[in-house]
């Protein structure tokens, strides 16, 4: 398939393809991080993760409207404001959901799955009633939608770079929080031994609520960022759910590093296969390989061998 092309063309295509893989990787990490925190640290399956992302996207849509109505001159930077707002709103909703729903179900992980599925249906309908059944178009600042020409034939999408940067910041931030902050220490303590953590004076309820809310908040940021590359509609959240879960499960639930490694593996596999095969087959093969590996190694890529 490459016989007709010059060396320079091939190099640039491969460079761009590698970059496409990296963007996909960042997208996966961003999708999965929030879920990884919730699932990995709390064992809760949040089927409404996609809907939290879409909430972030809708917040971005609203912010863009407000800015274009009232602060046209600041439109270039509205996106940052939108992301912060998206985080705040989804964080708050996450805390509310934890309080109203999740905290009653910690002992029944499979039931959280059903309850959050119910939640996702409700959220979808609310979006449909509030924002209409049609997709909304989020207007982005021009500077986000262009591309950088690295050489004559290598062009890198700016929004891809943006997503990568954002992913990096959030991943590092989460890692710092989990492994360096007092709060992270508490979260890990609660995960390991809830009773004991409670006994030494950690407010486990509060830790749970914050953890869940943080996971949702990150989903909100991800959703906000995805307005650059995807659609915003009542049911758009469903597009992400299978991929997201697979990334988290494949990574080994309790390890953030695992989530990142698995996002990398899956994204590279998928983007390479998409290049050489047709899109549908690439997707099927990727999923099959992931499921296959999970069958061989059910604990995921990175899982601690623990003493029982």
């Amino acid at each position: 398939m490459f016989a007709d092309y010059s060396m320079a063309e091939l190099t640039s295509i491969f460079a761009m393809q590698a970059f496409a893989g990296l963007i996909l990787f960042s997208v996966f990490v961003l999708m999965a991080l929030g879920l990884a925190i919730i699932f990995g640290q709390m064992g809760v399956i949040n089927m409404a993760h996609g809907e939290f992302m879409i909430l972030g996207a809708y917040i971005t849509y609203l912010t863009s409207h407000i800015f274009s109505e009232y602060a046209q001159n600041l439109f270039d930077i509205y996106f940052f404001v939108a992301m912060i707002l998206a985080f705040i709103v989804t964080f708050a909703l996450g805390a509310l959901v934890e309080w109203g729903l999740i905290r009653h179900l910690y002992k029944r992980p499979l039931d959280t799955l059903l309850a959050t599925w119910g939640l996702s249906l409700i959220l979808q309908q609310i979006y449909r009633s509030v924002f209409g059944a049609r997709e909304v178009g989020v207007t982005l600042p021009d500077w986000l939608m262009g591309s950088v020409a690295l050489s004559e034939s290598i062009e890198i999408p700016i929004n891809g770079l943006f997503v990568m940067g954002l992913t990096l910041i959030i991943a590092v931030g989460v890692a710092l929080m989990m492994y360096r902050s007092r709060w992270g220490c508490q979260v890990r303590a609660v995960v390991q031994n809830r009773t004991m953590a409670g006994a030494v004076g950690i407010n486990t309820e509060k830790v749970d609520r914050m953890t869940f809310a943080l996971g949702c908040g990150i989903a909100g940021i991800a959703g906000s960022a995805f307005t650059m590359i995807g659609s915003t509609g009542p049911t758009s959240g469903q597009l992400y759910i299978v991929d997201t879960f697979l990334v988290v499960v494949f990574g080994g639930a309790s390890s953030l590093l695992g989530t990142i490694a698995s996002a990398f593996t899956i994204s590279q596999a998928q983007s390479t296969m998409e290049f050489f095969l047709s899109g549908s087959m690439a997707k099927v093969l990727t999923l099959l390989v992931v499921v296959g590996i999970l069958m061989l190694r059910p604990q995921g890529l990175f899982a601690l061998k623990i003493r029982r």
Binding site: M145, I229, G279
Partner: protein
Amino acid sequence: MLTKFPGSKKPHSSLRRRILQGMLALPAAMLLSHSALAASTAEVNTTGLAVTDSTVKVGILHSVTGTMAISETGSVQAEKLAIDQINAMGGVLGRKIEFIQEDGASDWPTFAEKSKKLLVNDKVAAVFGCWTSASRKAVLPVFEQYNGMLYYPTFYEGLEESPNVIYTGQEATQQILAGIDWVVKEKGAKSFYLLGSDYIWPRTSNKIARKHIEKLGLKVVGEEYYPLGHTQFNSVINKIKLKKPDVIYAIVVGGSNVAFYKQLKAAGIDMTKEKPLVLTISVTEDEILGIGGENMVGAYASMKYFQSLDNDNNKKFVEAFKAKWGKDIVIGDVTQAAYLGPWLWKAAVEKAGSFDIDKIKAASPGIELTTAPEGYVKIHPNHHLWSKTRIGHAQLDGQYKVVYETKELMEPDPFPEGYQ
């Protein structure tokens, strides 16, 4: 056959001429419709449909929930508008139309269930509905078994011709051939990259496109399908960059659409430069709303209707539509086709002088609508519409500017010879 819209009491001269032509063409129908107006319910309804002396029930069957609600909402609005307008003019055979709306919930078996409910329980005289081919395929046996009438609005792949369905959208050849001929002739396109969502309509359409392209002696350099709902197109965009086609022929649908065009733009493919040129048959003004005009500007679409169409019928239609559903609303090809449904049905009933399905079936071929927003349309004996195909050029504001329209009406050809 005088199917007028409210407020069109003083038809434009050319319009009047066309109406006169229509009248001349169908004097028998005129007579029938006049005599029918006075007819009793027992006469106009011999098969026990839900028709009373003052009302007639019809069904509207679209998805208002689920993933397809995004697309089908416009059709529901158009059909309701048409019904309102018909009622304002006195209804059909003197009977007001009442509609029963059912939700297909983006789920094909639900469509089948609801269509059966409409036909068997509610005994509706006609159903306006369905959007995806899959939903139509699911309800088709129901309509044939219980002898119902379906007005189906979407452009689709063809390969079907049912006496119980009037296809008010274009079938694939109508939509595709003119578009390809146009890019070849006007833009000098030599090579094409075919891209689509992975299901029957894009695949069949691309098959027709490929056949036609190859018949013209030109080249298809790639053909690819992505699962419905796919959101990552960077790899295929790279492939496109590698192959350097003159035209990207895109039949991507739903949420994937948004992802595809946004990523295409972000990857540095500026569609206004037309290198490559993007030609689509799946993005109407409705979809642009989600994609964003700034991400779509420069693309070409080949279909039979654009909101910006400059004629009196359309102006009135757009005005009425916005008055009813809000000023920010946009109208796409399918929405307009859905709007035709109730009018075509009304015309058929009046021509047949009866609500009986069999009589409507027999009366339908040859029915003309001079007042259609898209212009003149006429039902072909194969139950599809004769219509013109137009090329729209996407503008920054999310509207298409019509840059070309076929001189003649395109004949619908659902089973194209050699394209199968």
